[in-house]
């Protein structure tokens, strides 16, 4: 086994024993990254920074002052501001932007000794489910079953592909409607969206501020627990970050879920879901039952309204957040023609800088917030959101500890296959994940099987607010029972 294919937990333990150094581990990852340009997962490579931090980590390891993430090489989604390192949210409008500051999440990872390998490709401004909207070009899924190149999912597609292809031991992702969990499921890895407010949003390029949440993308549940511990915590710079103690997530992995109540929501049985996914869901249910959990049928009656509510709220917030890209303070500015004033500068800068999906969402958001439509769309959607949250509140109040659902309505599809589809068809990728963002809950995608062609499929577990520790433990049980060990065979 090569060093870059180790889990975070295994690498941590081995480095503490002195079996290899952080520099050796980092070099293995850098080599794998350079050999994987065909995947297009890394948009900006930072080998010098990586080696410098690896040397610092080795010094800490030697001194016996090594936190869990010390010396662990990570990929960082391009949405996180990284000091002095290009941060573009995969958009032309942020061409050349090098932040003078570091996001709280990446600062914390850095403080814990983690090594940044570079910035990961993603959908532009995290808007997309296939990583086909990036200004860097498409990311290619390392999983391949025929001649087609497959999507790794989105928006954290570079993160998912990099972790699945062993280019890094873990990666940061962000999840606004499913952007961690859907790509995790498409690439056979673990992806967790924590409770809204668990990780600081400060320094993360904003898409929809009431929904955005950062989380870990890793090869195992244990690794997700370790990495989340380093990412989470209160931050005075984010007023929505929760002032709650961060539990020891790894210590919560007892493997014991006896007596836990797992809800199976009937509204998630949707027409057109492939049989393989129905079967996977039924098998996952049995695995949890065999582990001693009590399985109960539950109802989340407003589920079908989650997607339309999301596609009002998220674009509305995006149109407001993305108003800051005006060609004045950072990034791209359109070349002015004679006689152009400031309005032309704004309009041309934004037309050149934003890709088609971002433009569409900004305009939808502008429309639903405009005079005369605010109540009809935006306020109505916010009230429906409250009802979606109430559905979950009632289920948890009735004693349910976690909810099991499919993670995605299909396995990974081919790049370009949705090119002629209606934008709404692409939005349906988020059908099982978006409710969790609207309600602010923690959710985790766990790889549990392969479809008939050999593509990975995942299940999603949804937990109570601030119940990540318990949720990770349930995910750990599911992971062990499913015994998913498949890896993509290297073609790149």
């Amino acid at each position: 086994m090569t060093l870059n294919s180790l889990t975070i937990a295994a690498a941590r333990d081995a480095m503490r024993k002195g079996e290899f150094t952080a520099v050796e581990l980092t070099e293995a990852c850098l080599g794998a990254i350079d050999a994987a340009d065909a995947l297009n997962a890394f948009a900006h490579k930072t080998p010098e920074i990586a080696l410098e931090r690896a040397r610092e980590a080795d010094a800490r390891l030697k001194a016996g002052d090594a936190p869990d993430m010390c010396g662990i090489p990570l990929g960082i989604k391009d949405l996180f501001c990284t000091e002095g390192v290009a941060t573009q949210a995969a958009s032309k409008i942020l061409q050349g932007f090098k932040p003078e500051y570091e996001s709280t999440v990446t600062s914390q990872l850095r403080a814990s000794g983690a090594v940044m390998l570079g910035k990961l490709n993603m959908d532009e401004f995290a808007m997309g489910s296939s990583n086909e909207t990036a200004c860097y070009g498409d990311v290619v899924n390392p999983w391949k079953v025929d001649d087609r190149k497959l999507t790794p999912g989105g928006s954290s597609g570079g993160s998912a592909a990099a972790v699945a292809a062993d280019l890094c031991l873990g990666a940061t992702g962000t999840d606004t409607g499913g952007s961690i969990r859907q790509p995790a499921a498409f690439t056979g890895i673990v992806g967790m969206k924590p409770t809204y407010g668990r990780c600081s949003r400060w320094g993360v390029v904003a898409f929809a501020s009431s929904l955005d949440q950062a989380g870990p993308m890793t090869r195992t549940v244990r690794d997700a627990a370790i990495m989340l511990g380093a990412m989470a915590g209160h931050d005075a710079k984010d007023s929505t970050s929760a002032d709650l103690a961060v539990p020891d997530f790894e210590a919560a992995l007892t493997g014991d879920i006896k007596g836990r109540k797992i809800g199976i929501p009937r509204e998630y049985r949707m027409e057109g879901t492939p049989e393989a996914i129905e079967k996977l869901w039924a098998e996952g249910t049995e695995m949890l039952r065999d582990a001693g959990a009590e399985i109960v049928d539950i109802s989340l009656p407003h589920t079908k309204y989650a997607l339309p509510a999301y596609y009002v709220i998220a674009p509305a917030e995006a149109s407001s957040n993305l108003a800051r890209y005006d060609g004045v303070r950072y990034g791209h500015r359109a070349t002015l023609n004679a006689g152009d004033g400031i309005t032309e500068m704004y309009e041309n800068t934004r037309a050149q800088g934003f890709g088609p999906e971002v433009q569409r969402r900004v305009m939808i958001g502008t429309y639903v917030l405009s005079a005369g439509f605010y109540d009809a769309y935006y306020n109505r959607a916010r009230k429906v959101r409250a009802l979606i949250k109430r559905d979950f509140d009632e289920v948890f109040a009735a004693g349910v500890d976690a909810i099991l659902t499919p993670a995605t309505p299909s396995p990974a599809f081919g790049l370009g296959e949705m090119a002629d589809a209606d934008p709404v068809e692409m939005y349906l990728n988020d059908v099982f994940t978006v409710t969790v963002n609207l309600a602010g809950l923690p959710g985790i995608a766990v790889p549990t099987g392969l479809d008939s062609k050999g593509l990975p499929l995942g299940l999603q577990l949804i937990g109570k607010p601030w119940g990540e520790a318990d949720l990770l433990n349930t995910a750990y049980v599911l992971e062990n029972a499913a015994g998913f060990v498949s890896k993509p065979s290297k073609w790149w």
Partner: protein
């Protein structure tokens, strides 16, 4: 109820400060209409007496003293500007 006609598409683009050439307006109007009709499903929901959601669990926003906590970073703030001169962001003339 709502389809977006060319004029509305033009107005939305203007409000969003995104230049859309006339030739692209029909397609834009059609796409926006498609998305809006997807949203129409929300009209089926009874929202009588429901307050919009504000937080995941009841949480009071933190307060702090209303004082200066940061500053003196002019060079850093201007470092990414496409056009900065003499300590300012430069833009085309706004006032005649």
């Amino acid at each position: 109820m709502s389809t977006i006609d060319l004029e509305t598409a033009r107005r939305v683009a203007k409000l969003a400060r995104i230049a859309v050439p006339d030739d692209n307006l029909p397609q834009l109007a059609e796409e926006l209409s498609g998305i809006l009709s997807f949203m129409e499903q929300l009209n089926e929901v009874d929202i009588e007496g429901i307050e919009p959601m504000t937080s995941v669990t009841p949480m009071r926003l933190k307060r702090r003293q209303d004082g200066v906590t940061d500053g003196g970073q002019q060079a850093k703030i201007l470092s990414n500007a496409p056009d900065a001169r003499e300590g300012f962001f430069a833009v085309p003339k706004v006032v005649e």
